[in-house]
């Protein structure tokens, strides 16, 4: 994945707010990269742009050689469905779907067959074999994040974006979740881009990037 000269400005009335300024970096296949930064430094905006969830003001992102913003909205959605997985701080599970259905969702969106069996196997893999038919509100925070991780890995993405995945969990549960995520990452050779403000978690990634007021500082 390559980000080149990414910039994001927001206009509110007469005020022009610069959130990201000329951000460029590469991520190699299989690499794990942490993006660190204080609140408001633009971490989540950067992650959103890398995944094509929003449009940059300037610059480009390419994933496996495809220029993300040369595609239209549906093209980017297709690319996400085929190559990208997500883990969010607040889990973002669909409340009307069971754990199993939540995990089936990316498979169904990508038109992959045997979604039910694959999703079931993935949930078993993350230790939720007994929880397939439970709705999100019937699960603990840790369990919900496990479902989210299962959902992120189920379509075997080449690239995984994680946005503060332990932000809403206590320390012990958070540690388990991070272990699970890194285990899966190693096991499947996924490229990982992780946004966090936790120094300890970032240390588990091969490389750390620091955002300060929208500018990138490579800390190696």
């Amino acid at each position: 994945m390559r980000a080149t000269g990414l910039g994001k400005q927001v206009n509110t009335g007469n005020i022009h707010l610069t959130i990201l300024r000329d951000v460029s970096f590469d991520v190699e296949p299989g690499e794990a990269v942490a993006i660190l930064g204080a609140s408001g430094s633009g971490k989540s905006t950067l992650l959103g742009l890398l995944a094509g969830l929003d449009q940059p003001t300037s610059g480009s992102v390419s994933i496996a050689g495809t220029d993300l913003f040369a595609l239209d909205e549906n093209g980017r959605a297709k690319l996400r469905a085929e190559r990208v997985g997500f883990v969010f701080q607040s889990f973002q599970l669909l409340p009307a779907f069971t754990a199993l259905e939540n995990v089936m969702l990316p498979l169904e969106l990508a038109g992959i067959s045997a979604a039910r069996a694959k999703a079931g196997a993935m949930l078993t893999h993350v230790g939720l074999a007994q929880r397939l038919a439970h709705y999100p509100k019937q699960l603990s925070g840790g369990e919900q994040q496990r479902v989210a991780i299962a959902r992120a890995f189920v379509n075997e993405p080449e690239l995984l974006f994680a946005d503060e995945p332990t932000g809403n969990l206590d320390a012990a549960t958070g540690a388990q979740i991070i272990d699970l995520m890194f285990d899966l990452n190693h096991e499947r050779g996924t490229t990982l881009v992780l946004v966090t403000h936790d120094q300890a978690i970032s240390q588990r990634c091969g490389r750390q990037l620091r955002l300060v007021a929208g500018c990138l500082q490579d800390t190696g």
Partner: protein, 834 residues
């Protein structure tokens, strides 16, 4: 006081800000519809009421009239003159009017000098010509005719018409006359003539249906005294009508119309109330943060509640005022749809309906918005720190007591009757509950199917199931609107078709009445020379029911309108040897030939029920001054739809012998032989011929007109249903946006999400349409079997159109309502909502 002023000013500012931010749109529209539909009906009926009150003596043509089905003796008029009252008279009867080869059944009124004593007669020289008021009656030998007669006979002033045995010159076009305000089906084109020509016309004969009317006018006190005096002198078959009870038939028709339209309008009010409750909840969720901050800044709970109450009273008053404006505009349309049915100039409506609309609008808004709003005052201060705090649960049904009381009050007020009010409320509640159960069950079944089928369908169903209560209410609301329109369009047509299908092709299409005894032979000859089958003539003797089992009866003994009418008027009695072909003996037995006991009666079971008559009852009829007594020995069921001559009461031949008799017949004339009928009328000018097909066309035209007006009122219901849909969509917008964002993040295309929403809305519409089709078909079945007595054939189009139009319409409306969900970048949605 100052504090209150400041608070009101603040409430006004808050109102303006909310209005600017578009937070109040749905609440405003809901109130507009509720008040609009209530005041449309309110303004319209108020105009008709006012017209009846202001123009009552004009409607009567006098201050007091006495109607009679026989000529008046001299006493009534002489006494009136003695008391210094002005007196005049008129008589009215149906007759054929001929012009060249054409003839027309018309409503003839012959008036004496002085007519009318109140109100005015207007004439014109030609159609659409300039009107003038006249103060005399038509000169002897001339007639004034209305526009219908001019158009149908193609005549103009100066032409000569044949009426019975005389010729009358058309002197002018009659454009307005008092005591003729309602253009109902039984009023044929009018011919106004001088009473002096009646004798020469030879039209008043045995069995003629003549109504005599005495007009009186003068000082109010004298009129009142005269009325008291006359009350004890009038006999059966005579009625006194004063200004207060002028045109009772119009008043009771208006009462029924007001009741029906009022209740129809209430359907939109109920749906608007649902929309208000839904929209308020969204308003509440959006104002929780603001209220928490206000409380942090020192506002007390009571102050916050007061602020919002003032806010909503102002909002309710403003929206209701605008709703009154809509109602005022819409009643103009309603009045023009019913044009022709009411030949009466409608005055401007009073202010009362507007005040009622305002009160209903404000109370409705407060009733359904206040309970959730009270929780705004109770928002916990900690919400400023933790946003998940203080989100109130759904307000329970109990908290809507005020709102429900407002609805109940409105229903009882509009029903004008406590029992009917409770009946309507109960029916509505039962229908809603049943619908809720059906929809909830269908959603449950569908949710079990959710794992099968494609993704969009599955997710659409999941959405429906998740918001089950809200969606069920939405579906029921929409179903009510669709059902009302289906019933008035498809079911109405079906019932008419079903009824027409029961008629045989040779069903008689002409009735001829007034055939005199000495014409029977000549008529038979006429038919045979024309090569037409000999008509079956039935004798007809007019008689009044005066006693049952020796007890004198009068209309005062009965409560039902129909029974009163039957007692007040003369019955048509007939005699027969054998049971008529369209009759079936239900109980008792028909007389045998040469039965020595001839004081027997066979009574139609419907009329027996209306008058409370039983087998074995002994009835006394007054026939031409003689009393005839007989016992009911059989009750008959009559198939009136055969269009053959039938009678309520039949006797053995000997009982009525010697009584004045005329004959009646009905027959079928093929379209090509209409010329023969013209000859018949020329040869027998006193005969009155009734064209059944023409009457049916008129009935249908009137039904069309009335149902267009009712449809118009129900249009508010459909719009209210759509507002419920929008309110429900608006209350779930954030959720929808959030889910769409997650799905797009996980790779869903816009098309996939749009298809999901389409599935959800199309399913909502299909369910509403199916429910509406079921309701409309059920109603059609009840009407067909219980009211019209025709087999209900059912109509698959009801289902096709109900479900098809329901799902297409709701899908379109829903997609429009949620189109912005797809327009926002996913990151933005996730951030804003999470």
């Amino acid at each position: 006081m100052m504090r209150l002023g400041k608070e009101s000013a603040l409430a006004l500012r808050l109102l303006w800000r909310d209005f600017r931010a578009g937070e109040l749109k749905l609440l405003i529209v809901a109130v507009l519809i509720a008040v609009g539909s209530l005041t449309t009906v309110g303004f319209f009926t108020s105009r008709v009421q006012l017209a009846l009150t202001q123009q009552s003596n004009q409607l009567l043509g006098a201050d007091l009239t006495i109607v009679s089905d026989r000529p008046f003796g001299a006493e009534l008029a002489e006494e009136a003159r003695r008391r210094g009252l002005s007196v005049t008279r008129a008589l009215r009867f149906p007759s054929m009017v001929m012009h060249g080869a054409d003839n027309l059944l018309s409503d003839v009124k012959a008036v004496a000098d002085g007519y009318p004593l109140r109100g005015e007669v207007r004439l014109a020289d030609r159609l659409f010509g300039e009107e003038r008021v006249v103060h005399e009656v038509p000169a002897a030998g001339s007639a004034w005719v209305d526009d219908r007669m001019m158009t149908r006979l193609g005549i103009r002033a100066g032409d000569v018409l044949q009426l019975g045995q005389i010729k009358l010159r058309v002197a002018a076009l009659l454009t307005q006359e008092p005591d003729s305000v309602i253009g109902f089906i039984n009023s044929a084109p009018r011919l106004l003539m001088n009473e002096a020509d009646i004798a020469a016309s030879g039209l008043i004969q045995t069995g003629s249906r003549v109504r005599y009317r005495l007009y009186l006018a003068g000082d109010t006190a004298v009129i009142d005294e005269y009325r008291l005096w006359a009350q004890s002198r009038i006999v059966a078959g005579q009625n006194i009508e004063g200004i207060r009870d002028a045109r009772p038939e119009i008043r009771s028709a208006l009462d029924r119309a007001e009741r029906f339209l009022g209740l129809a309008a209430l359907l939109s009010v109920v749906l608007s109330a649902v929309a208000i409750a839904l929209a308020t909840r969204r308003f509440l969720l959006r104002h929780l943060d603001g209220c928490a901050v206000m409380r942090c800044l020192g506002a007390r709970q009571a102050v916050i509640v007061r602020l919002y109450v003032v806010h909503f009273v102002l909002l309710g008053a403003a929206a209701s005022a605008a709703g009154c404006g809509i109602g005022y505009g819409a009643q103009l349309a309603l009045a023009s749809m019913l044009e022709g049915l009411l030949a009466i100039a409608l005055p401007w409506p009073g202010f009362l309906p507007a005040w009622q609309g305002l009160a209903a609008g404000v109370l409705l808004l407060l009733g359904f918005a206040l309970p959730p709003l009270v929780s705004l005052g109770q928002v916990p201060l900690m919400r400023v720190l933790r946003r998940d705090l203080g989100v109130p649960g759904g307000a329970g049904l109990l908290s809507y007591t005020l709102g429900l009381a407002v609805i109940c009050g409105l229903v009882i007020w509009k029903a004008q009757d406590l029992r009917l009010g409770f009946f309507v409320l109960g029916g509505f509640l039962a229908a809603s509950l049943l619908s809720l159960i059906v929809v909830a069950t269908v959603l449950r079944v569908l949710s079990h199917l959710r794992t099968e089928g494609n993704f969009s369908w599955r997710y659409g169903v999941a959405n429906l199931r998740r918001r089950a209560l809200g969606n069920t209410i939405q579906i029921v609301a929409l179903a009510l609107g669709i059902m009302a329109l289906l019933t008035l369009t498809l079911i109405r047509g079906d019932l008419l078709q079903s009824w027409k299908a029961t008629l045989r092709p040779d069903t008689p299409n002409r009735f001829v009445i007034n055939i005199q005894e000495d014409q029977v032979e000549a008529l038979a000859v006429f038919f045979s020379t024309k090569g037409m089958p000999k008509p079956v003539l039935a004798p007809m003797v007019r008689g009044r029911l005066v006693a049952v089992n020796g007890q004198a009866v009068s209309s005062a003994n009965y409560t039902e309108d129909r029974a009163k009418r039957l007692i007040d008027r003369e019955f048509n009695l007939s005699w027969a040897e054998k049971t008529p072909p369209d009759s079936r003996i239900d109980s008792g037995s028909w007389w045998r030939e040469n039965d020595t006991q001839f004081d027997q009666l066979s009574v139609e079971d419907g009329i027996a029920q209306t008058l409370g008559l039983r087998l074995g009852d002994r009835l006394t009829y007054e026939v031409a001054g003689n009393r005839i007594e007989a016992t009911i020995t059989s009750l008959r069921k009559v198939d009136w739809d055969s269009f053959r001559v039938n009678f309520f009461v039949i006797t053995p031949p000997r009982l009525l012998q010697g009584s004045p008799v005329s004959y009646i017949t009905s027959f079928y004339v093929p379209q090509g032989q209409v010329e023969t009928l013209n000859e018949l009328v020329r040869e027998f000018p006193n005969l009155v011929m009734i064209d059944v097909a023409q009457i049916m066309t008129q009935v249908q035209k009137m039904m069309d007109q009335v149902s267009t007006a009712v449809q118009f009122v129900f249009l508010f219901t459909l719009v209210a249903g759509l507002v419920v849909l929008y309110a429900a969509i608006a209350s779930t917008t954030d959720e929808r946006e959030y889910e769409a964002a997650i799905m797009r993040t996980l790779g869903a295309s816009r098309r996939q999400i749009a298809a999901t929403q389409f599935a959800e809305f199309a399913l909502t519409g299909a369910l509403a349409g199916a429910l509406a089709a079921a309701g409309a078909s059920g109603l059609g079945y009840v009407l067909a079997t219980n009211v019209l007595n025709v087999p209900y054939l059912g109509n698959t189009w009801i289902w096709v159109i109900g479900i098809g139009a329901g799902s297409a319409g709701i899908a379109l409306a829903g997609m429009l309502g949620t189109r912005h969900v797809l327009a926002v970048p996913p990151l933005q949605s996730l951030r804003r909502i999470a």
